[in-house]
Symmetry: C2
Subunit: 556 residues, 2 copies
């Protein structure tokens, strides 16, 4: 059995059509400041049975057939794609960040899992018909799944939203991202348990054996494997062709982990995700390697997967408005209440806690992957799948705008209410500690400088405050009445661990009153917003007086 | 029809086994200073029917089955892999370099095609039985194929060999690489004509129609498409997410080209290759994009393809020693005579012409891809395929060592016979033209400086002489008795378009006698050889006198 030349031509054409449609709609959504994956899924819905399949039946049958060799070959590619996608998602998880954020992140995450889980479980258990549960003998499992589906978050979408809003490195942003990482790991663990309880893979292992094996896998991977990986990586990078050796290593390990979890009766992607976390956690993994993997997977394979979602189901005939509205209400309520409450009790203000709640509300890709798996094994109906996809899209689309609205400054909360040319210093200092000390020296005399210094340094040591495009914003909340902002300009630059690995040449010291949490956040966002174009920022370095710098900054 | 969980586990495990074996043997060959693909193919031969299939039959049947869903999924992946591989090979072809090398490259290439083609054609036509021709009704086509198989070269292997020997940017190196590019394009064109004559794809087009379509495709792609691509690329890079947008664009166009050529009855890879050339030719394609594509394809997909070769055929039972020896002799003789003769009549010395002959002799991956296609369509027997693979490997393995032997310096041909501390200058000049002028100022007075300057600048404008690791070697052959070498050290660096995009901080002006061609080559290679470790080179910049610099250079 082998594809004929005609079939190979169709197979290749199908892939280019999928890639093109994904990019086309992905870019449109990007221009609208929305996540590209929404566009990529839209592309699939248009190409699949919902639109093209209905309007031009021959098209879908030819290019995206439901059976035959082309389908098997395309399935092979999308299987690889989703395994690679989870491997990359795992690489992005930074366990040490979760630990650093500690109590706030974990409390937020745990409450953000428990509350929606309970709501989802109860709703599905007591009214399975509303959810079109396909099998009345598995109501318990079905309810477990519904609970899990409502409690999952989508790390990649959340990270993108926070970066777009320039609040990634704020306390709110870091709490959201850490809580989302923790949420991801726990959510997938629960789901893999559900899968093994169903024994859908007709695995040779029973539930207890699978649980024991997955537990052993996690323990070995994180307590032994992680250390071995951390030892092997530097060896690979120096002794073996770079970055080829490391790239290979990542994929070999990822596919092995995937094969193992699939074999023992959990899904392949869970293994890939865990291996990704274990590798990404190594301090020896170079940014360059991570970038090559991410660029390729996110631009070529992930779009193929997201388009393939829309090809599976007719989103119009399977659309149940009542079910979709119920799922939407339950998922918004559960997640936002859970996370907001969690954030509030760990000390965030009401407004900040709401931002965290809405930030965590994004379900994105993870929800959909979960939905597909459940659909494939017959645990949920197509109508519930469509409702889940709608919910994933709507939660992802709303979280950015809502956080942005919560951030909205009144006039008094903008940078230029607190900055004047006399607070702009040109300096040659190349030591980061000295520079921060120097900035604090410039604050008014009534300030307790020792206290301020220790607070700023503490924040800096926890997570450096470099942003991007030469900007860094060391900051602290201290005992003052109104914000103090001092700006240092250094034409060489200092290492503040910015995202884009530039040295920071423009450093704002931002001090805000202790009791005004949002004010800090709003000022951080307001400053970052001015630094979006690297080219424009570079023009600032040609200016030679604080006055010129100040007025150029105003125009940014 | 869908893979079961067990089959997905096996599919993922097969891929990790293939990647691991490929990397393992590839690295061993790398350590032996041989091309990695030889190791990757060896991995396939070991995993396939030849070794493991013989020793542990269950292993091959489980992981690399000859039929069933896993095979179809794996075939889908290897099809994508070879299309991607040719797309990347196309990106590496630089048409403008071929044109710049002009007559020498084209003469070498044409004679290097015609002579082996005639030899191969005649041998196969008059003794088809020796070659195990499977079908006596197609002897003419079979002979055409044999001629083509003997006349093809392998651009990627050749480029790697030249870079390893540090002679890529010498006249000999540039002639080899340009001739190989031209050879590739012509070779694939002939092969695609043979394929369409066979009508193996049961194409809806007859031979004349296919020829007309492929001709139209080439004309449109290179006269219209290339210009459109060149316009679109800057747009994509600025308006659309970078590098994601460009990556997508490359693959969409590549798969489209592949689907088109496959559809009209030529093979998919020919379309991918042509599209690769058209895109790679654009001055707007950034090095970063090319690198992401190459790293990923060369490290993940290409190895999967090369391993898959060994899985197809038993290399022991199908090994015919007489046929293999005949193929080896014919291919070595044909190619080396053709190319050496071509290089000689365009003005290279005998020794240089021989280097060019052996350089062009590498058949590498291209030969094997050709062989697989011919095997798949039943044009050649498995025994001939095995002979072709052996020939491809042996020609690739011998070309580096032979060129190296031809380069071997006698004592008098080394750098330090012609360099002394007084010829080392520390300078702050940051203009490339000024620096070259300054270097020439330092040559002895008897030299015709105006002539030297114009020759050096001419060479520099044709192709800049930056190598890598901060080294550049502007050079010319002029009317002198013995070589003159002047070295400039500039701690900031000047743009000589080095491979690794470093600025050149150590610049050797190399003037050699007009009548001593190899001497120039040997000195170029001798200088480059000293600059293989970037770390060691970086230590040079801490030295502050010519004497210290000279003795540190000796120890490199």
């Amino acid at each position: 059995m082998q594809m004929s030349a005609q079939q190979i031509a169709v197979f290749l054409l199908s892939i280019s059509i999928m890639l093109f449609a994904a990019k086309f709609f992905g870019e449109i959504l990007n221009k609208l400041k929305q996540p590209a994956i929404v566009g990529e899924m839209l592309a699939g819905i248009i190409l699949g049975p919902t639109i093209f399949g209905y309007l031009i039946p021959g098209f879908s049958e030819t290019f995206f057939p439901q059976s035959g060799l082309i389908k098997i070959a395309l399935d092979g590619i999308t299987t690889l794609a989703v395994v690679m996608l989870l491997l990359v998602s795992g690489l992005e998880v930074d366990l040490s960040m979760v630990i650093k954020q500690g109590r706030a992140a974990i409390t937020t995450s745990v409450l953000g899992i428990i509350i929606p889980f309970v709501i989802g479980f109860a709703a599905a258990y007591y009214s399975p018909d509303l959810f079109h549960a396909p099998d009345n003998n598995r109501i318990f499992l079905f309810a477990l799944f519904t609970g899990t589906a409502l409690s999952i978050s989508a790390l990649p979408v959340i990270a993108k939203t926070l970066v777009d809003l320039n609040i990634f490195k704020t306390p709110v942003g870091l709490t959201i991202i850490s809580a989302a990482m923790f949420n991801d790991v726990i959510g997938w663990l629960i789901f893999s348990i559900i899968l093994s309880m169903m024994d859908v893979s007709h695995s040779i292992f029973n539930f207890m054996q699978t649980s024991a094996l997955i537990f052993a896998f996690i323990v070995i991977l994180f307590f032994v494997g992680r250390k071995i990986i951390n030892r092997i990586l530097p060896y690979l990078q120096t002794k073996i062709s770079y970055p080829g050796g490391v790239l290979n290593f990542i994929f070999i390990l990822g596919f092995l982990g995937a094969a193992f979890t699939e074999y023992i009766g959990v899904h392949a992607i869970f293994g890939a995700f865990l291996v990704g976390i274990a590798i990404g956690d190594s301090v020896h993994l170079k940014e360059h390697t991570r970038e090559v993997v991410q660029q390729f997977v996110n631009n070529i394979f992930a779009p193929l997967f997201f388009v393939s979602i829309g090809l599976r189901v007719n989103f119009i005939t399977n659309f149940d408005p009542v079910l979709t509205i119920v799922v939407l209400i339950l998922s918004f309520l559960g997640k936002i209440i859970g996370c907001t409450f969690g954030a509030k009790i760990t000390g965030f203000s009401k407004r900040e806690a709401l931002m965290i709640g809405f930030g965590m509300n994004s379900r994105g890709a993870m929800e959909i992957i979960l939905g597909i798996l459940a659909l494939q094994v017959g645990l949920i109906s197509e109508a519930f799948f469509v409702a889940l996809v709608s919910m994933a899209l709507l939660t992802s689309l709303t979280s950015g705008p809502v956080i942005n609205a919560l951030l909205k400054d009144k006039k008094t909360k903008q940078l230029f209410n607190f900055l004047s040319p006399k607070n702009i210093i040109f300096t040659d200092i190349l030591s980061k500690d000295e520079l921060i000390y120097h900035l604090i020296e410039h604050t008014p005399n009534k300030i307790n400088k020792k206290e301020v210094l220790s607070k700023v340094m503490e924040r800096e040591e926890a997570i450096p405050t470099g942003i991007a495009n030469y900007l860094a914003i060391p900051h602290a909340r201290v005992n003052i009445d109104k914000p103090i902002i001092i700006c240092a300009v250094n034409k060489i630059g200092l290492p503040f661990s910015a995202f884009d690995e530039t040295l920071s040449r423009i450093i704002f010291l931002l001090l805000t009153p202790e009791n005004k949490n949002e004010l800090q956040l709003q000022l951080l966002a307001d400053i970052s917003k001015k630094f979006q174009s690297r080219e424009k920022v570079e023009q600032l370095f040609e200016l030679d007086t604080p006055e010129k710098f100040y007025s150029a900054l105003k125009k940014l």
